[in-house]
Each structure stands twice: as C-alpha cells, then as structure tokens.
C-alpha cells in the first residue's frame, strides 16, 4: 500500500541502484585519492571552510585554561619563578658556550671552505584540531602556507620531535606524528652513535627496525635524529628505548621505544623552517 507522501508508481531509482552508484563513486574517490592525489583541492576547501569554526570553538578550552591559571596560588608562582630564574642562569651559561662554539665552527668551516649550514627559522604553532587516530596519526596546526610552512618540515616541542608537516593549507597544516605507522625517522643511538631507522608502530609507540642481533642497545637509551636525510636537523631527541627482545627466528632485534615529545598532550609546537637550499646545491641532490 502507498503511504502518505509516497508515490504509487516508482519513477526514481530504488535504494539498491542508488547504493551501488554511491559505492562506485566512493571506491573511485578512494582510488583517485590514494593513487593520484587528485582530491587535494577538496581538502583545501574543507580546511578553508572549517578553520574559522575551529578557531572559535577552541576558545572555550582556552578560557578555561586562563581561568585555571588565574586562580593559582601565590606561593606556587613564587616557587616556579625561583626555579625559572635558576634555570635561566644555567641556560645563559650554556648560550655563551654555544655562541663561542658557533663562532669557532664558522671560522673552521671558512678555513676548510665548507658551505655554511642552511639557516633556520622557527614558526610557533598551536594545536587546532585532532581527529581520530585509527589509521593515520595526524594533528592539525593553526599555521599554514601563509606563515611560510611547506610539506616535509620537521615539527618539535620542548621535549623532542613531534613529526613532519604532511599537508599544507593556506591557514592551517597537517602534521604526521612520528608514531604514525607510515612515518620513518632516521635516528642514531645517543650512547653508541649507531644509526638506524625508527618507524611508528601505532598508538604513541615507535620501533627501531633492522638492528642486527649483536647491536649494543639497552633499555633507557635515547634515540636522536641523525640528520643524514637532510629533512631533520641532527640531534633532536626522538624516543627512549623501553624494551629490547631477541628473537630466535629473526636476525634482527625487536626494539620498542616511547616517543619523548608529548604527541597527544602538546598544545604548542615549533615548526623548523629551513631556508631553501641554493639551486646548485639542489642540482647535486639525486
């Protein structure tokens, strides 16, 4: 029987046909996106439309944090200030050392006629949005192409490497975290200097791949970026080894580690913007 509002005679496609059509459209958009990256325009459109909304909706939590800060105790603030002053004195000392070393380094490089290292700028960015991390561990930052960001730049926080800029929109950018399963980071073991390749292994974990069974590595060793990829500057802390297991069947060790940066906590991060290499230097690269 015909229901009110329902036509007696069907003149449009039935649900089966419609489902089939939309499934075909869906599968082809998946193919277009994974194989040919032709849908990035749509991503930019979504990003432009949603960015102002996200910035407004971020405000309530920011206000809550402000209020929380307003009601901290005076004593606590004083203690914190004393600690910060002591820390500043310490860093001031370090800075003096670093400056003299940098001068010396520049002179030596000049003597050896090595090209100067590319200069580096820092762009401060804050977390704008975080999606589900079921398949891709990504966060969205509130700085984009307008601030000079481009794909491939490293992102760090106070404790270590956060990840790499993977997509750039005009006013925001997407960062793939080091714990993403498709993200590889060239590292070296701080204690021994041995180089290796760290890959994300899902939720806030990383693994160091292809280390031969006789490698000298133990729990607690720090992994730093090695810098041989020319993407990350050398020496950024990446992870700390949490477990080393030897397997009978594999010639390699199974090394698990924990990223040092607060991947799921950091609200403010720094993007390291290296100045583009000179054209002749780029031509040498394969």
């Amino acid at each position: 029987m015909a229901m009110p509002g329902q036509l007696m005679f069907v003149r449009q496609l039935g649900p089966n046909a419609r489902l089939l059509i939309w499934l075909l459209v869906g599968v082809s958009s998946m193919v277009l996106d994974t194989r040919y990256q032709t849908l990035d325009g749509l991503r930019s459109g979504f990003s432009l439309a949603l960015q102002p909304v996200r910035e407004v909706l971020r405000a309530p939590s920011a206000v809550a944090l402000e209020l929380q800060g307003f009601f901290t105790r005076h004593r606590l603030l004083q203690n914190e200030r004393d600690a910060l002053l002591a820390e500043r004195a310490h860093w001031q000392n370090q800075l003096n050392d670093t400056q003299s070393l940098a001068r010396e380094n520049a002179e030596l490089r000049g003597l050896l006629q090595l090209p100067a290292r590319p200069g580096q700028q820092v762009v401060r960015a804050a977390l704008l949005y975080q999606g589900h991390n079921w398949f891709a561990q990504r966060i969205t930052l509130d700085q984009g192409a307008a601030a000079g960001l481009r794909g491939g730049l490293p992102v760090v926080d106070a404790n270590g490497l956060v990840g790499q800029v993977s997509r750039v929109y005009p006013g925001s950018s997407e960062v793939t975290l080091v714990s993403d399963a498709n993200q590889l980071t060239p590292v070296f073991i701080e204690r021994t200097g041995q180089r290796g390749l760290a890959a994300g292994s899902g939720r806030n974990q990383m693994e160091l791949r292809y280390m031969p069974a006789q490698t000298d590595i133990r729990r607690g060793d720090r992994l730093l970026t090695s810098g041989i990829d020319r993407v990350y500057p050398a020496g950024i802390p990446v992870a700390r080894v949490t477990r080393v297991t030897r397997s009978q069947s594999s010639p390699y060790l199974r090394i698990e580690s924990q990223p040092l940066a607060g991947l799921d906590r950091s609200q403010a991060v720094l993007v390291l913007v290296t100045e583009a290499l000179a054209p002749e230097a780029q031509a040498v690269q394969p």
């Binding site: 509002g5 996106d33 079921w134 939720r203």
Partner: protein, 166 residues
Amino acid sequence: MNAPAQAFGSWRHIFGSLILAVLLEQFPWTGWALALRPDFVLVGVLFWVLYQPARIGFGVAFFLGLLADFQDGVVFGQHAIAYALGVYIVLFLRLRLLQFDPLRMAAQMFPVFLAVQLVVLLAGWLAINPPDNLAILLPVLGSTLLWYLLTGFLRLWHGKSLQDRT
C-alpha cells in the same frame, strides 16, 4: 504512532541539526572524550533518513562522509562509503524501526552503527594499513546512547511517554 514523522522535519530543522552536528565535531576533542565521542554527523544523517527519507538520502550522507574523512586525515571515500551503506540499511529497515520506542529503537540502531564502523575499518584496512587496535568500534556505543537520548527527548518534547504502553 508515526505522527512525529510528519510533525517535524522542515528544511530548517534538517539543516540546523546537521550543521550543529558538524560544529560539535569541530571541538578540540582529545583523549577518552575523542575515543568515545559519538559520531554526531552519522546520527543526524540516519535520523533524518529515518524520518524524512525523501529529503535526506545517499548524496548528503556521502558528502558528510567525505567531511569525516577530511577530519581524520584519512583517504577520501572511507567514511563516505560507510555512511552510504548506513543510509541503505536504515531505508531497508525503516518501517520496522519506526514501530519501536526510543530504547528498543536504539537497540536496533546499535548493529547499524556497528556495521557502518566495520565498513570504515575494512575500507581503511584495504586502503591504508591494518589498524593498531579496535578502538575504532568505541564510538558505536556513544552513537547508540546519543540516538536513545535524542529520540527520547523528542518524544517527551511532543508530550508522549518514553515507553510504549502495551
């Protein structure tokens, strides 16, 4: 019984609620709240497919699915396919679902939400890589609860009791 189906559902209601659902997902959710967050947009779409199938259908669901794909930074099409399938299941079960009171309807919607989420899982598995764990199934609980609260609230709003008297 089916009176609410005709009593509300103007374009203004439909667009207002779907826009609200999209806005709710733009909050900076983190941690457990993010893991358990109901899929507001999916609940909104399936709700309107149930009550206004002539107005909201595959096209809208597919487009909002693309939006969900953008939010999670995954391949375009993953959620879109799953949402389209959810619409199909609801259209298929529509006359049956409309007979139930909110609690039973939510119980019937649970497998639908689960099916949608399993399709997201499967599509991601094929297109990107195997998932790390099954946390992807957690929002099903949130969505079911949201469905119950939403339909229950609307029944009370229309001056009916929460349960059918038999």
